[in-house]
């Protein structure tokens, strides 16, 4: 299913990825699932609370996820998924990403270098956890 992200929200993800570089950044994608397209209405920055190796790991704590879910529902929206950055690595999910992924969420990955965000792609976990399907990002 396509994931629709407006230019302003794309800019915020890119800015977060550049600011966090060389560490990974992460945040929530909030919006509406219309059934045919997932429309991101807002992006909410999260703290990367992974205790170490934040250049190649990120963690959003369960209570932060719970708060995002509740705040999205209060606004009549849903938690569509999450974004994170891969500093100096491709915008493709890793085996570590797959082991930790949930079904049903969109996972947007931004490949960021010291200069710029080089690429951004979105992925969903297959129901049998065997891998990912890419979903197109539309503006």
């Amino acid at each position: 299913m396509p994931l629709k992200i407006g230019a302003g929200d794309v800019d915020r993800i890119h800015e977060h990825a550049r600011e966090a570089y060389p560490e990974e950044c992460a945040g929530a994608l909030v919006g509406i699932d219309t059934g045919g397209v997932r429309v991101v209405v807002d992006v909410w920055l999260a703290d990367n609370t992974h205790e170490e190796e934040r250049r190649r790991r990120f963690l959003i704590e369960p209570l932060a996820v719970k708060r995002f879910e509740e705040q999205a529902e209060e606004k009549g929206m849903g938690l569509l998924g999450f974004y994170h950055s891969h500093p100096d690595h491709p915008a493709e999910p890793s085996e570590y990403d797959r082991e930790h992924a949930w079904p049903g969420y969109s996972y947007v990955i931004a490949s960021v270098s010291a200069e710029n965000v080089e690429d951004m792609r979105s992925w969903t976990l297959r129901g049998d956890r065997s891998g990912y399907e890419e979903e197109p990002i539309v503006g």
Binding site: A26, I60, V65, E69, E92, P93, H100, P103, Y132
Partner: protein, 97 residues
Amino acid sequence: MPKVKIPTPLRQYTAGSPEVEVGGATAGEALGNLATEHPDLRQHLYTGDGKLRSFVNVYKGEEDIRYLEGQDTEVAEGDELSIIPSIAGGFGGERCR
């Protein structure tokens, strides 16, 4: 019977229900029964060797069961267990497509 709150990404496996009542005297039993009643849930809650996945967090009320008695945490009629995702990842390891 205790109730288990299901997070959004797993509701597709509970016919859309945000909350499910299951039998069990401990958190571990209740989760096991949940996975038995909704078998497609199992692989997302447990690893191949039957352990709860590290990013699956279970709260009894407001408390993480890891800080209570883990899966042996007792649950009673009317108690509420919540499955709450933590979100983790990163580029280490093999690429996965």
